[in-house]
């Protein structure tokens, strides 16, 4: 359960901290890599820029993707991620404050595996993260080789 990287794409430091706290609260021990925008996420995935030389074969088991991001936004990031064979099959959970219908539809259309809205109430937020972790990291059979 503790093996496999979770890539958290989150530009908001508070949300990053809260997400990490929630993961910890739920005893999810996976290594969490945090990137702060879509461009960095793609760099990480494809071993470019700051992540030049990273072993791309070491794929995250799960991507937690915020939508409102600087540089390359969440939806664009998702599109690139799904367009590349190296990252095409990685489960992506859109984790966002947006409840816009359009965002939900777009996300699924671009191949998101799940769409979760961050509740304002932290208790509810922790619960949501718990269920996510339980499902995607424990219950769900990951892609071979990840």
């Amino acid at each position: 359960m503790s093996d496999g990287i979770v890539l958290l794409v989150e530009d908001n430091a508070d949300d990053e901290e809260l997400t990490l706290l929630a993961l910890k609260e739920n005893n999810i021990g996976n290594k969490v890599v945090v990137v702060h925008d879509g461009a960095e996420a793609l760099d990480y995935l494809f071993g470019r820029g700051a992540y030049d030389g990273r072993d791309v074969a070491d794929r995250p088991v799960l991507v937690l993707l915020d939508l409102k991001l600087p540089k390359v936004d969440g939806l664009e990031c998702l599109r690139c991620l799904r367009a590349d064979p190296r990252s095409r099959l990685i489960p992506v959970i859109v984790l966002t404050s947006s409840k816009e219908e359009e965002d939900v539809i777009q996300s699924y259309a671009l191949g998101a595996n799940s769409y979760v809205r961050k509740p304002v109430d932290f208790g509810e937020f922790v619960e949501a993260v718990r269920q996510l972790g339980l499902y995607w990291l424990v219950l769900n059979e990951p892609l071979p080789g990840s």
Binding site: N12, D15, S97, E100, K118, D121
Partner: protein, 835 residues
Amino acid sequence: CEDLFQSLMEINPFFTVLGAVDPEGNIFCASRTMSGPVNLADREYFQRAKETRDFTVSDFQVGRVSGQPSISFAYPVTGEDGRIRIILVAALDVTWFVKHAAEAQLPPGGGITVIDRRGTILGRWPNPDPWVGEDAREAEIVKTVLAQSEGVTQALSLEGISRLYGFTPLGRYVNVGYVYVGIPVDVAFETSNRLLARNLLALGIATALVLVGARVYGHLFVIRGVRRLLSATEKIGRGDLAARTGVRPEEGEIGQLAAAFDTMAESLQLRESERDNSERALRRSMQTIGAVLKASPVPVCTLDSQGLVDMWNTAAERVFGWKEEEIVGRTLPLLHDQEADKGRQLWPRILTGESLEGEELNWRRADGSRLTISIYTAPLWGARGEVMGIVAILLNITERKAAEEQLRQNAVRAQLLAEISEAFARAGLNYGPLLNYVARRATDLLGAFCVIHVLSDDGTHLTPVASYHRDPSARRQLRELLSSFPLSSDKDALSEVVHSGRGILAPIISKEFLRNLAPRLYHDFVEHFSIRSLLIAPLRAEEQVIGTLTMVRDSVGNPFNGEDQALLQYIADRAAVAIANARLFETVQRLNAELERRVAERTAQLQLANKELEAFSYSVSHDLRAPLRAIDGFSRFLLERYQDSVDGQGRDYLSRVRAATQRMGHLIDDLLQLSRLTRNEMTIGPVDLSAMVREIADELSQADPVRDVELIIEKDLHAQGDQRLLRVALENLLGNAWKFTSGKRSARIEFGATEQDGQVVYWVRDNGAGFDMAYVEKLFGAFQRLHSASDFPGTGIGLAIVQRVIRRHGGRVWAEGMETQGAAFYFTLPREAQS
């Protein structure tokens, strides 16, 4: 048989010859000895007798056997087999008759002559020799007789003696010759003979009658005699030599005829006075007829066989303006050569005796003006059955023709006008084509070419906007010339029409006049297009002159008249209305286009604004929530992980912080919902409001099972609308009712509908906290609250949402309430939104 014939001759002295002829025409037996063989095969009467096997009579001729002027008869005798065996011929002596007539009638020195139609002397008494058989065509009297046929004249006789003659044709229907009777002039003027002189013609007529009678009734005295002759010959042929004809002078028809002739001659003399009377009567009736013709109110004339006028009555003088003396002896005053040709074509028909009945011809009056005449004719028969002339009745139908033409033109115009009116109505609102149509139709109807000028908006310029020339080749030139005029002068005819609003009628225009009138710019125009007659009509629409319609005729002698002007004005009036409509339509179209452009602009702006709003909403949903979550999350961590460091008061504060963040979260959610309500597309369909209210109420009860609320929901209330939006609205209304009745012991919430002014009004009513009507205006504003959050929690957006939903459906929402007594919310969903 010669003896037999001779004995017959003796008792019938007027026979010159009697004989028998074989079918080949050879005379084999005759009353007189012939110097040689005589053949009659070429004689017309002989041939006819052979052909018809019947009795025939010849014209007056000189006999081939007798050498005397005679009328010959032929009588075919057929055998039992029906074939002609012999033909008996007889010749009647003309001179014998003439002599008897002359002896019976004439004073000393008088004489009667018979000539054939070529002027050969057939018989004469006295002094038949040496004239009989001679061609006397050149003699003055014969010339006159041949020329005039019948009448009285003074002329030189064959012997060169001046005589008074009466002459008449032999036979009224077949021209076989003439008789003329003459007496010396000095004899004629003796008192005792004056009467006779006057009756010379009558005498001639009497003689002619006798001769013709002899010819026509020849069979009476020939056939009977011949029949006896025949039976006698047959008897002789059989050997009965005692046979006689039995024709005795005293009982011979011919003798009787001779006697009758004498009697007639006597009676002629006896009835001289009667004849005089009848002649007078004749003259009188002739005079009467003449007077009637003269006085006839209808033009009448007679023409001779050359087509020259003989008689011309008073009415003709009046109608044609030609005096009788001016026209007699001349041809009829037909209008043109063309008409004269037509007349010439008719003439041969007239000469064959045909009557004209209402033939129309154009005539020329003495003053040169034209008349249309309907001509009726009857032939005047001459003695020989020839047409001597005609009598013609000339009906002046000029006015009738003009009226007919007018009528025809009116009909044509009426039809064209109807077409134009309809076409203008149909021409629609396409300005350019309409103007061209007007120009074309007006030209068709009235003239050679047409120009339409339209006044500029500022009223200073007249611009040629359409033109049409009847001649296709001139159309382009007309257009080009027109386009080169900057028409602005306020002194010319067009401007005058525009300013006065009255049309111009210039029936006859000379080139010089135009050259003087038109500004220099137009000279080219005037040179190219001959303008002989001009009409200008104002185009009037709603009391305003919007332009002019100019019509031109380019041929001389075809001037416009008042009627044409009226017609052009009629067209102009209709055209003006059509033009004004088209202009109006153009303006409307322009405004519409402008409007559409603005709408598009606004729409674009709105779309932009909407986008911005969306972006804003996105930010709100995303960015405003994130800090809230942080505040809430970290407050909770503080409470949980650092509770030892925070005292009770601090914990209370942290709880408040968390509550506030949550309320803020709700606010944001509601705001987003509100903005979404205006942006999203509506899907209109049937909505069961009663069921919807029931569902919402059930949800409320489940969420708050402690409450005991009486729910009264009217059944089967349906409406057309957006299911999702209406649910939001009802959730808010019922939620409010639920919330504001929380303080009541026996809470009651009702949903129903009433009809009001033909409209269904739905309502949600409760007996809760109610509100002060003073603040009813604020009720539906966002973030407006009439109660404290501690009493009744809420964001103050619910009713704003309700209002927005109802308005999007085109309905209206309002409220009634009273503090502590409850509130009622009403809304309508108009039918337009329902369809």
